[in-house]
């Protein structure tokens, strides 16, 4: 159509772009930004399983496990089609896909905070309880419970996520602090104040976009955001006390809000790497962030048990997690379930989880295996000045669980806390009681309680 000369110009650009696109070999294979480098050793007859995840490293791990699986199961080979999507996007899409029953993946990583959304009503996920049976004796039961509803397990996690303390020994020594003397929160505060006085910088972090430290304190104090029936209890004395402790740390100068609002953000990696913060109370998997994103701190970070409230029975809690689930509508759901149980629960899989992801896996039979845990070739063993499993084994019999994490109301609580409440307390200076009272009323309104 000669009428549309600008259109013709657009078409020219279109054609150019297309030629450019076709010249790119990568665009011929349907995948997203994730480009696979792992040989899955899948034969011609392998069954293709689509897998959604929001962590690129998880994708690589699954592909490595597929290669192991294919060697051991030549008749039941799998070929994973891994799709890495952004966190929010992937969970939203999964919700929509499960509702419509179209475009559902065979396997999907669901983050702990989102998991209860998918077990509401009749879960559209496969019951995986029987697939966990061969490994059950060695597993941390609490981590299976986390993804269970009415006795049925719907997801397998990677790790326990034991909350630990990470100290920058170089900075601590400079301020004359010995981290091994920090046992309780009082010790932590004392060290923090001393450090602050010596350096003018914050010792630890006051988190506004994550609840790792708050959950740890709640576990130690025996409190929770929700009661067993899902009723909101965020203004209960234990929750108030937990946040009073954190607020007191901030007021004393021991901790400050890090860039990005919590240690596990790109902005905070930069600040920690520069030495702006010396102590991070984070789940075990934060180790992998050090090796990947904070190379300057190699040989300077010590891992120790997290501070405790004096006399607490629960010394630490598991933090975060990703449950891999198998949607029920999948054509190959049995194979997918068998594969994922092998990948995430077997000793084989758990060794690989530690080796490549640096997680504290759920199968504790490997925690004691020094050949693996103290392997001098391991990048995590090399990076840190102490071995994480020394701290892990020290607390392994007192790892607690906030039962609220399994409640369908948990996502609402987490959303409100990480957007509103934590910012009210640590950024705006709203008194803890007022902020929590506000949260209580907002949540009651939202949940219709």
């Amino acid at each position: 159509m000669k009428v549309l000369r600008p259109l013709a110009a657009l078409a020219v650009v279109a054609a150019t772009a297309l030629v450019g696109a076709c010249a790119q070999p990568a665009s011929n294979q349907p995948s997203d930004e994730y480009s696979s480098t792992v040989d899955q050793k899948a034969g011609e007859d392998a069954t293709t399983l689509t897998l959604w995840t929001f962590v690129e490293l998880h994708g690589k791990f699954y592909e490595t496990m597929a290669a192991h699986w294919n060697e051991q199961h030549p008749d039941e080979q799998v070929k994973l089609d891994v799709n890495v999507m952004p966190y929010d996007d992937m969970h939203n899409k999964l919700q929509l896909a499960l509702t419509s029953g179209e475009g559902v993946p065979d396997l999907v990583d669901i983050e702990l905070g989102k998991f209860p959304n998918f077990t509401k009503g009749t879960p559209a996920l496969e019951d995986l309880t029987s697939y966990a049976e061969p490994y059950r004796d060695d597993l941390v039961e609490a981590r299976l419970d986390l993804y269970s509803k009415e006795g049925k397990t719907y997801g397998f996690d990677f790790h326990v996520g034991t909350t630990l303390a990470f100290y920058n020994t170089e900075l601590l020594e400079g301020a004359g602090i010995d981290y091994t003397t920090i046992q309780t929160w009082d010790d932590f505060k004392e060290a923090g104040v001393k450090y602050h006085d010596a350096t003018g910088k914050a010792f630890g972090t006051a988190d506004t976009s994550a609840q790792w430290q708050a959950n740890l304190l709640l576990g130690q104090l025996g409190g929770d955001y929700l009661d067993a029936d899902g009723n909101v209890t965020v203004d209960s004395p234990e929750v108030v006390q937990a946040f009073e402790i954190l607020k007191d740390l901030q007021d004393s100068g021991a901790v400050a809000v890090p860039p990005g609002g919590q240690p596990d953000t790109e902005e905070a990696y930069g600040a920690i790497n520069k030495g702006d913060f010396a102590a991070m109370i984070m789940p075990e998997w934060f180790m992998s962030r050090f090796t990947a994103y904070m190379p300057d701190l190699k040989g300077k970070i010590a891992i120790a048990p997290a501070p405790v409230v004096e006399g607490a029975e629960v010394k630490t809690v598991g933090g975060g997690g990703t449950g891999t689930a198998v949607p029920s509508v999948g054509e190959h759901k049995e194979l997918a379930a068998e594969f994922i149980a092998y990948a995430k629960l077997s000793k084989d899989g758990n060794e690989e989880i530690w080796r490549t992801l640096g997680f504290d896996p759920m199968n504790t039979s490997m925690w004691q295996d020094e050949a693996i845990t103290h392997d001098p070739e391991n990048e995590y063993v090399q990076y840190f000045t102490t071995n994480p499993f020394d701290s892990l084994n020290a607390v392994s019999d007192s790892i607690g669980l906030l039962v609220s994490a399994t409640s369908p109301n948990a996502p609402s609580v987490n959303n409100l806390f990480t957007t509103e409440t934590l910012n009210d307390i640590f950024e705006s200076g709203t008194p803890v009681k007022d902020a929590l009272a506000q949260a209580q009323s907002d949540l009651e309104n939202e949940l219709g309680q």
Partner: protein, 299 residues
Amino acid sequence: MSTTAVKTRSPRVVASAPTRAPKRGDRSRSVLMGLAFVVVALLALVPFWAMFIGTFQDGSLLIRYGLNLGLNPADANLDNYAMLFTDSGPYFGWFANSVIVTVVQVVGTLLVSAFVAYGFVMYEFRFKTPLFICVLVIMTVPFEMLMLPLYVQTNAMGLEDSYAAVILPFLAQATTIFFFRQYLLGIPTEILEAGRVDGVTEYGIFFRLVLPLMKPAMAAMAILNGMATWNNFLWPLLVLRSPEKYTLPIGLNTLLTPYGNNYSLLIVGAFFSLIPILLLFLAFQRFFIQGMTAGAVKG
């Protein structure tokens, strides 16, 4: 701009009148004004410069330490460009998808909307007024409000994860119909009679006689619709599910994830996505401005 600098008796500040002799003091005002224009224009260009500078830096460092206008030569490198052209995964796939969707949408919308507008202008028929009121109503209903039921609807029609679902709702585009109607009102109806006398079908009159006359209006609307489609985000985000079908804005957004470490591709990809539209703008500046401001038609 200072209006007190020079006292002028001339009240004609706004009308262009190139024939008028320059007044005393106009020169200094002209210089001041030129200076102000240059400063404001440069400010408007700052983000482009910042992004350009950013393409030579490590994306994770940008997320950590922010973006500014300086570039430390020691940190500068072409790694991002090397990655863009060798290892950018699906980036050019998104690019091609965006181009395809935009071209199909623009051609389709222009033809269908012109067709409809022609019907409204050239004929009298029952329900004409109520139907035209519907056109006006669409222009005032926020699309975001319809998004959720529309999503449920396209799924029910089996259109999920398809470009059809992205494109179809905007084929008979209200703003475009309205604009074409205003334009066609200026075309004499005799053309219709002349065509009929010559034995052209009702549709032939539109396609062969009227459509060629609509060239300037088409150009303006092509730009307007093209920009809207090229930048459309929310609706394609809802509809498209497979990563290989993503358009550029959605694809870029997927790179903004803390779990993938794709920030370098994000910055260079974002910058690269501007290039075609900037080139088109330089070539067809007049049409762009007409298209973008076309809505302000005076009745």
